[in-house]
Amino acid sequence: MSTTNNRQNAQASGKLYQFKLVLLGESAVGKSSLVLRFVKDQFDDYRESTIGAAFLTQTISLDDNTTVKFEIWDTAGQERYKSLAPMYYRNANCAVVVYDITQPSSLDKAKSWVKELQRQADPNIVIALAGNKSDLNARRAIDSEEAQAYATDTGLLFFETSAKTAVNVNELFTSIAKKMPLEQLAANSRGRGSGLKQRGVDLTSPTPANNCSC
């Protein structure tokens, strides 16, 4: 699937749904790399922690009439000392919780992030679990079956991904898009990610007074 084409398709297609997607997981499991692969189809082996991106957006065409636009929020490192702002979870429609298949403790961390999401986020949030770095299979420390079983029990989508080789990256985001309850969300306009536009006043789009400027 070519993401560049998707972006162009978004212009012409029928319905556009916009969602806020948040990333969670221990530091250095590859959260930003997954996004970078998905959004820009790039990978950098020596990438340091996330700097400079407030959020990235990417669109996926589910069919000729349906396009899903993700507004992807990176933790910006605020997760490191358990200081993620409530704003981060606010109105998140979906989340990708990432662990590193070569780091035994990272799945436990992922599980605690899932709990945190269940506590803080919208109860209807769609959560996907991603076991990243699947290209490092030789150093695997976490069985697929174990993670899959946990994901099934908890009602999460599950993929083993490699941001480096791009394996399952688009599949991960596409599955999330397909799992979003689109019709329901379109009908229920509460929350900024649900509909097509932000609720309330848009600072960058001044709206002149009703009439009569005299």
Partner: protein
């Protein structure tokens, strides 16, 4: 498990995640400074934060004196040992954050009101609460309810049940549609993290127990039912002048330093109710009329008029979910995106001061780890007592947070109501913001009133109660008014630490939130502190759009 930091040296350490500290954190990280931003609280926003209902109740009780079941959140961190120890040849001055916080607030009183019109039975509610497994709620009810009637208990149970739907600001503020903050939110990109609603209705209390809707825009003036034709002409003439007052200096010549009130009366024949409306609802002066001179008054009036028409008919916007907390979080996020390190729920034990230069060199945290930086930016709560000159004369603000079951005046997302001085025995204007579910302040069937005034009487409750009586059915039996469910009264100090001469040059202290209705003075303080620290750098330049650029 104590968390040790990998990096122990920074350009700037910032203590407290309040509004001004957060803007500075964002601005400094944005230009490439290494920033470590810490807060002893487990939440963002410091004394600008917002709480859900349970948290607000806990906070109020904490300030009244720590109840037994809250010790875990009390951050008891009384420093051990000598008050001034030596640490590697430096002075180590102890910080007492919780004591400083408690001293900033006074006359804290809360009331829970019974609801007489019952829809659900008592049993039903209690059952629900048990199902919820909300241990803390039950604990709270048990603790608070000994003195409560059954009706009051029921109200408390309902409020706790919906606790998470409340975002209650402890220092509520709004922002003018044109002003320092909104321009900064737009230019820095932080505005993209936030959501806003318009505040487009202002009411003023008049002597006959009525509330008049204040005509603000020229359009309002034309359609207003409450303003006489003569007054409409006067007001139109004045508003037209005030919008461009600098272009006709001859009009206010000789009045510059004289009271604004005198100018309005003599030059525009504005008097009576109309004068009150111009002074308190349009110019929004927060003190007595005589204390504002003509230049100041015209400047405020003009700012108000210029704010109209940008986002519909509103002069103000409200940031959703609790403005102080959300905006602070937004700037902290910018800081983090540009490399700022975040550590909440982390106590600081000592500040280290070099004995010879008397400069700040670093601090010691709860783990005994030494962290150093060139600058320290901090809210006043983290300043060791030895470095503070307590100013007994500092301004105090009386506030109330009131949860009610029905809107006052009219339905809507947000409104402002003004009680001019002396209208209900008050020395200073009382301002009442009403927020609804639309601002995400409360559940759908509730409204929140935020009242504030400069302190004058013995307590916050005394300063505000008479105004509250005019708005809600609190002590009389006027069923036409909405009923209160909960009211919290408190007073807080506006401590201006910049006045302390004992502070080392490289410690930069931010002020508490002041009595103004908006964030303008605080935004200006952040900008000025930044410019002082980094005179040749740009203040929060736009963040490049990552969708357009290569990362």
């Amino acid at each position: 498990m104590p968390q040790q930091l990998e990096v122990t040296e920074y350009d700037v350490i910032i203590l407290g995640t309040g509004f001004v500290e957060s803007i500075l954190a964002g601005a400094l990280a944005r230009i490439g400074k290494s920033v470590l931003h810490m807060d002893t609280n487990e939440y963002y926003g410091g004394s600008w934060t917002s709480f859900n209902f349970q948290e607000l109740l806990d906070w109020a009780q904490l300030l009244q004196g720590c109840p037994y079941y809250l010790v875990t959140i009390c951050h008891v961190e009384e420093s051990s040992g000598n008050s001034q120890e030596n640490f590697e040849g430096k002075k180590a001055l102890p910080i007492n954050f919780s004591k400083a916080r408690r001293q900033a607030y006074s006359t804290i009183e809360y009331e829970i009101y019974g609801i007489l019109k019952q829809t659900n039975s008592t049993e039903e509610n209690e059952e629900y609460l048990h199902k919820d497994e909300q241990d803390t709620s039950e604990e709270t009810i048990r603790h608070v309810s000994t003195s409560l009637s059954n009706f009051e208990r029921e109200t408390l149970a309902k409020l706790l049940k919906e606790s998470k739907q409340y975002n209650l600001d402890i220092a509520p503020k709004i922002m003018p549609c044109r002003g320092e903050l909104i321009e900064l939110l737009i230019s820095s990109g932080v505005g993209r993290y936030l959501e806003f609603k318009a505040l487009d209705k202002t009411y003023i209390y008049s002597d006959q127990d009525t509330f008049d809707k204040v005509p603000c825009s020229k359009e309002d003036v034309f359609t207003s039912q409450t303003v006489t034709l003569i007054d409409k002409r006067k007001l139109m003439r004045f508003l037209t002048f005030a919008l461009d007052f600098t272009n006709s200096p001859e009009t206010f010549e000789g009045y510059e330093e004289k009271p604004y009130e005198k100018f309005l009366k003599e030059k525009f024949q504005i008097d009576g109710k109309l004068l009150s409306a111009v002074l308190y609802a349009i110019t929004l002066i927060q003190t007595k009329a005589n204390d504002v001179n003509t230049i100041q008054g015209l400047t405020y009036t003009q700012r108000y008029l210029k704010s109209l028409g940008r986002y519909g008919n509103a002069a103000f916007l409200v940031a959703l979910y609790g403005a102080g907390s959300e905006i602070s979080q937004g700037f902290c996020r910018i800081s983090a995106v540009f490399g700022g390190i975040y550590m909440l729920n982390h106590s600081i034990k000592h500040l280290l001061i070099d004995k010879s230069s008397n400069n700040f060199t670093g601090l010691i945290d709860v783990n005994g780890q030494q962290l150093s930086s060139t600058y320290l930016i901090t809210s006043i709560d983290y300043i060791p007592e030895k470095l503070l000159q307590e100013n007994e004369e500092c301004e105090q603000i009386s506030r109330a947070i009131v949860i009610i079951d029905r809107y006052i005046h009219e339905e809507g997302d947000a409104s402002l109501t003004i009680f001019p001085p002396d209208s209900v025995g008050n020395e200073y204007p009382i301002r009442v913001l009403q927020f609804s579910e639309g601002t995400r302040s409360c559940p759908e069937d509730k409204y929140v009133l935020y009242m504030s005034t400069k302190a004058s009487g013995k307590s916050a409750k005394e300063d505000l109660y008479k105004a509250l009586e005019k708005l809600v059915n609190i002590s009389n039996d006027d069923a036409s008014l909405s009923s209160p469910l909960f009211a919290l009264f408190y007073r807080h100090k506006f401590r201006d630490a910049t006045l302390s001469s004992l502070l080392p040059d490289n410690i930069i202290v931010t002020n508490d939130s002041d009595s103004s209705l908006d964030f303008e003075t605080a935004t200006i303080q952040a900008k000025q502190l930044f410019e002082k620290m980094c005179p040749n750098e740009e203040f929060l330049p736009a963040v490049p759009d990552p969708d357009d650029d290569d990362l």
